[in-house]
């Protein structure tokens, strides 16, 4: 087989890439679509966290991931990569940021470089879905829920076990009490029953 390995030619993204691109309807056609996406990618690299329509965010995310991945793979001495960066970043000071800030930040990362959240939606309004797109490792306050997956923290597991044990002990105690009470009352009942039985016999 004289075929080159595809995975070495094209960078594999760590996000889900749909089989078909979105057209993002525009009076200028495909060029207008690319202009839109370039603006979005530039904004993302510049501000590191932006809020926009979901479709555009998801589409721009793929290009941003690809751009960062190429920059990490080839570095800044590779002409095609530099051209790509020049095409996608409208503000040229961001080319410096891509190679000097983002490449060191994501060099050793094994997950995607960006994150996409669904923004809250007003309840009774017919509006487009919004999304929040951000670069990982940004200096802003966290967006995601901080306390979601703490069920399996060792402290919580130990606390749960302790609670369970305490409850079991309590149940046992209560059961014992009921048992004792039953033993005390049962002879009285039998005596009464005997008396009742005797009465009709005597009469």
């Amino acid at each position: 087989m004289n075929q080159a390995e595809v995975s070495k030619l094209v960078s594999k993204l760590r996000i889900k890439v749909p089989p078909k691109h979105r057209k993002l309807p525009n009076p200028k056609g495909p060029e207008g679509r690319l202009d839109k996406l370039r603006k979005t990618v530039t904004g993302l690299i510049k501000y590191e966290r932006i809020e926009l329509n979901y479709n555009r965010a998801d589409e721009a995310r793929q290009y941003a991931e690809r751009l960062i991945s190429e920059a990490i793979r080839h570095g800044d001495c590779h002409k095609p990569t530099m051209d790509t960066a020049n095409f996608w970043l409208l503000e040229k000071e961001l080319v410096h940021k891509l190679f000097k800030v983002l490449v060191p930040r994501f060099e050793n990362s094994s997950v995607a470089y960006t994150k996409l959240y669904n923004a809250p939606k007003p309840q009774y309004a017919r509006v487009l879905d919004k999304a929040v797109l951000e670069l990982k490792g940004n200096p802003y306050p966290e967006l995601g829920n901080k306390q979601t997956n703490n069920k399996y923290f060792i402290q919580n597991i130990l606390l749960d076990a302790a609670k369970h044990e305490y409850r079991q002990a309590k149940y046992a105690e209560v059961a014992n009490k009921i048992g004792q009470a039953g033993n005390e009352t049962s002879p009285v009942n039998t005596e009464n029953a005997e008396k009742l039985n005797e009465k009709p016999m005597s009469s």
Binding site: E93, H96, K100, P120, P139, Y140, P141, L143, N145
Partner: protein, 197 residues
């Protein structure tokens, strides 16, 4: 449905008949059946006229066909395939783990997000203000008022740009929630009054 179809069919037949008569003329009178009516009605029937019914009023358009039950229900309640007009319970509402407000499943909590968004905007503005149009070569570290740089080796700070916010760090934006980063232990000896109300 059936009344409509029969109506359309009868109209069609009538149209064809009329057109045929128009094109070829009416059939000759010889073809008509000879028929003699023996008992003639005594009283002459009155001519029907709309004026007797309406008088001075006027005639509106009225429904031609009966609305079936299915159609009635669909108009009233909508259909699940298109738009349902009745109110349905939402089963995708969750309680936020951080603030306790409700939010849709799979979306950010609105209460938390507005808070974070405001803070993010402030930091972004500050960064842009400090940065200007120079090439961006350093990563940003955000410090709030009264904060010192964390203990890190000198190489760590080589490629960093420090942006200072002129306010205290918000309480919820802290990496270590057990320790307050900005507040010093108070020395005040005031005691809260107890016997009020």
């Amino acid at each position: 449905m059936i009344p409509r179809i029969t109506y359309i069919c009868s109209q069609l037949v009538k149209n064809i008949e009329r057109n045929l008569f128009h094109m070829f003329g009416h059939p000759p009178k010889e073809l008509a059946l000879a028929y003699v009516h023996e008992h003639k009605p005594v009283s002459s029937p009155q001519k029907f006229s709309l004026k007797d019914i309406i008088g001075d009023g006027m005639l509106w358009a009225v429904p031609k066909f009966r609305r079936t039950n299915e159609r009635k229900l669909k108009r009233k309640f909508g259909s699940p395939e298109y738009v349902l007009k009745i109110l349905l319970p939402k089963n995708n509402i969750k309680v936020c783990q951080d603030c306790g407000h409700h939010h849709e499943k799979g979306r950010l909590c609105e209460h938390c997000y507005t808070k974070v968004k405001k803070e993010t905007q402030e930091i972004q503005d500050k960064i842009q203000e400090k940065l200007g149009l120079n090439p961006i070569e350093n990563d940003v570290v955000v410090l709030y008022e009264g904060e010192k740089l964390p203990d890190e080796p000198k190489e760590f700070w080589n490629g960093k740009r420090i942006v200072e916010m002129k306010k205290e760090r918000p309480q919820w934006f802290s990496k270590n929630l057990l320790q307050k980063t900005t507040q010093q232990p108070s020395d005040s000896t005031d005691v809260k009054p107890t016997d009020l109300a």
